[in-house]
């Protein structure tokens, strides 16, 4: 446990550094955009109304969705910039997170800015006019200083929000304290979740206190407190960013290996990254990418390689609804991805991670259920637990129609909690993943699919456009093709997901490579 904690703490300087840099930048951008809007709305009620309504609307968008929404927007923007100037920018990571968080920071600043200016005593404003101040002088000498403490209270609120919401930057590929939370949640490592939460809470607390010092200084007109608060913020930000300077060394372009948000993906990304490193390459990993984001990031060259599943690509990327046999599907997929996106399908790893309906073995025996066809007549009395995307996928519609499935209720879970719900009896049937170690560990029965409604989900390595001709990348990853069996993958997944004798992702990756004889 302690060595695991030590390993986790090893990431802290980098993750904290990025978190601070991201939050501080977002706050500054938020302030920089909000204050002029506050000034514009000072005398125009219509502008004031529109600005506050727009900011309020942004606030109602769930922060995770806001972060995710910026990715396609920036991707398109980047493409436009690339055609215009020849240089694109990364639509993944820092920029989308910064955009979303800056927008998020604006509402409290705008609201307090408007309220602060409105709270200035009308008698004082009349006096300022009466003594002969111009509009600008009145703003700078009277209204500004009097509204400043209220405005700063808004900045304070924004800072706490932004630091909290910045943990959600992980799924768009930005390293931050959220990495602990997302990875911990996925691998049921609560220590990691706690560490991420505690670190971001502590950061929010410190920032809030320092801004409180500035706010108090402005209200009491004590210059010393203002300087102390601002100095503390600047110093803290600078210190937190020091570790980033050491990682951002120049040199050959690093390879970026992507991973979606579950254990198998983390392990495989780690295996690929390890092999590249041993070949002397610099590698960064972008984990916890959303399912749809991962492919688009690859197609846009944001990441160089990642593992996806043939059925997923077939239905969600190519939008196909038919289910050809496995070999045909893989061949056509390879062909289409290459033609449409320039993406190379390097090959299948050798195992399948399919969506499968599963239920606790004892319960299945009791009801005499072996296949989905057996399940169908009982479904109306049973509750289905799914992951967060299954119900909106083509596979579900196909399964529904093929077997006439009508469950009593359907509930969505983050995958870890989906398995827990099945164990606890909250749900009767779950959409398990066939390579998941928890199928063995939790004694689940995977129900067979006699009608072949669910397409094959062979794990395949994808390479970004243009990367197929990179000999080092291909040399490092090609040996994995056809090598990873489902038993080995399940064992590796289980070693990370189980409660006792847990392995870290890095350890599991090394063990998998050894088990496959690749190390």
């Amino acid at each position: 446990m302690s060595s695991e904690l030590a390993a986790a703490l090893g990431f802290l300087p980098i993750r904290l550094g990025w978190h601070v840099l991201l939050s501080a930048s977002a706050l500054m951008v938020g302030v920089a955009f909000s204050l002029p809007l506050v000034l514009l709305s000072r005398r125009n009620a219509r502008i004031r109304w529109s600005v506050l309504a727009a900011a309020g609307l942004v606030q109602t968008i769930p922060s995770l969705a806001l972060l995710a929404l910026f990715f396609p927007v920036l991707l398109a923007l980047s493409a436009v910039v690339r055609t215009l100037t020849g240089h694109g920018f990364s639509a993944l990571g820092f920029v989308p997170a910064l955009c979303a968080l800056s927008l998020y920071a604006m509402l409290p600043i705008l609201r307090n800015g408007v309220a602060g200016l409105a709270s200035v005593d009308p008698a004082v404003i009349e006096a300022a006019k009466g003594v002969g101040m111009t509009d600008v002088q009145r703003l700078v000498q009277v209204e500004g200083p009097l509204a400043a403490p209220v405005v700063l209270a808004g900045v304070r609120t924004a800072a706490v929000w932004v630091i909290g919401a910045a943990t959600l930057a992980t799924p768009v590929g930005q390293t931050c304290l959220g990495d602990y939370i997302f990875t911990g949640l996925q691998t049921e490592n609560w220590l990691l979740v706690l560490l991420g939460c505690a670190a971001s809470a502590a950061l929010a607390f410190v920032a809030d206190q320092l801004l409180g010092l500035v706010e108090g200084g402005l209200a009491q007109r004590e210059r010393l407190r203002i300087i102390a608060g601002l100095g503390g913020l600047a110093l803290g930000t600078a210190l937190a960013c020091v570790p980033l300077a050491f990682t951002a060394n120049a040199g050959a372009r690093a390879y970026v290996v992507g991973a979606k948000n579950f254990s198998e993906q983390y392990i495989l990304a780690d295996v690929m990254a390890d092999r590249l490193r041993r070949a002397g390459a610099r590698v960064t990993e972008k984990s916890d990418l959303g399912s749809a984001i991962a492919f688009r990031a690859l197609a846009a060259g944001e990441i160089d390689a990642y593992v996806d599943y043939s059925g997923t690509l077939w239905t969600t990327v190519l939008g196909r609804t038919d289910t050809p046999p496995r070999a045909t599907l893989t061949a056509r997929l390879k062909d289409e991805l290459g033609k449409r996106y320039g993406v190379t399908l390097l090959g299948s790893l050798g195992f399948e991670n399919a969506y499968a309906l599963a239920m606790p073995k004892a319960r299945a025996d009791e009801m005499g259920i072996e296949t989905i066809a057996d399940l169908a007549p009982h479904a109306k009395d049973l509750v289905l637990g799914t992951d967060l995307e299954f119900l909106s996928r083509v596979e579900w519609r196909r399964l529904e129609t093929a077997y006439g499935l009508r469950f009593k209720a359907e509930r969505q879970y983050q995958p870890t909690f989906m398995y827990r719900a099945a164990l606890a009896g909250d749900v009767d049937v779950i959409t398990a993943f066939s390579s998941d170690g928890r199928i063995l560990a939790d004694d689940l029965r995977v129900l067979r699919d006699p009608k072949g409604a669910i397409p094959p989900y062979d794990a395949v390595i994808l390479l970004a456009p243009g990367r197929a001709s990179d000999p080092r990348l291909v040399a490092a990853l090609a040996p994995l093709v056809g090598r990873v069996g489902v038993a080995a993958m399940r064992a590796a997944n289980l070693s990370v997901d189980r409660d006792r004798d847990k392995r870290s992702v890095a350890e599991a990756a090394v063990e998998l490579e050894k088990a496959l004889g690749l190390l």
Binding site: D121, P122, A123, V124, I125, E126, A127, A128, K129, G130, V131, G132, M133, T134, Q137, Q141, V142, P145, L146, R221
Partner: protein
């Protein structure tokens, strides 16, 4: 010195105008009081002089020049303005409050400080108050600072909008009489607004009475109390006169 010529001002499209073609002139060195009930338009009238209110029609002249001839801030720096709300800047010290107009006019810091201390003496406040903030002052002290602020840049014209309205009777009388002396000593031209006929009668060289956006009386204080005055003015005078008589009777009965 000051001439208001057929001023019209309407707030909103409907209802009676706040100023209904009002004309008034104030001679140089005159202490002019405008009396009226709330809503009579007297404050609107005063604010047209330093352009805190822009009339819809008509014109205002100070020293024979239309007030719109220069930017409003420059005009206002030459005209002292005191009002009931006082409006001291809460984030400025007493000294900074008093010196604000000279600072806007670009005076030397030394000259500003000297002038401010001089004004503290004049309005009868201890010089130790210079570094205090307004929230550490009483209502009467604040109004004295407000008066000093209005006088700081040596204006020739002073506009006072119910300046002593929020003060207790004794403080109010004392400050009113003190200001009247300053008016004499500095040869100011003063326009003061009040709803208190008594205060007007005591302080004014000339008094105007406003009602529903129009001047219904314009004359000397003694004319306002004469039997020939209009009914409305006589009614305004009646109450303070009866109160004064009641008090005089009490004093007589006590044998003092």
């Amino acid at each position: 010195m000051i001439r208001l010529d057929h001023l019209v001002k309407r707030y909103g499209a409907e209802g009676a105008p706040a100023l209904d073609a009002v004309s008034l002139s104030v001679a140089e060195g005159e202490f002019r009081v405008v009396v009226g009930a709330s809503g009579s338009g007297k404050t609107t009238l005063l604010k047209t002089i330093n352009r805190l209110v822009e009339p819809d029609a008509g014109a205002v002249f100070v020293n024979g020049v239309g007030v719109s001839a220069e930017p409003a801030p420059q005009l206002r720096r030459r005209i002292g303005y005191v009002f009931q709300g006082v409006g001291l800047f809460p984030h400025f010290t007493v000294l900074e409050n008093i010196g604000v107009t000279p600072r806007l006019l670009g005076w030397e810091p030394g000259a500003i400080k000297g002038r401010c201390l001089e004004l503290l003496d004049l309005v009868d406040l201890p010089r130790s108050f210079a570094t205090r903030r307004p929230d550490a002052l009483s209502g009467g002290q604040r109004q004295r600072v407000g008066l000093a602020r209005a006088l700081a840049a040596r204006p020739q014209v002073m506009l006072l909008d119910e300046p002593f309205g929020a003060l207790d009777a004794v403080t109010r009388d004392g400050l009113g009489r003190a200001y009247r002396r300053m008016h004499e000593e500095m040869s100011l031209t003063t326009v003061m607004i009040t709803h208190d006929m008594m205060e007007g009668l005591i302080l004014a060289d000339r008094i105007a009475v406003m009602r529903a956006g129009a001047v219904v009386f314009d004359g000397l204080p003694q004319e306002a109390v004469s039997p020939g005055a209009p009914d409305y003015v006589r009614a305004l005078v009646q109450t303070p006169r009866r109160q004064a008589e009641d008090v005089a009777r009490l004093v007589a009965r006590s044998g003092a």
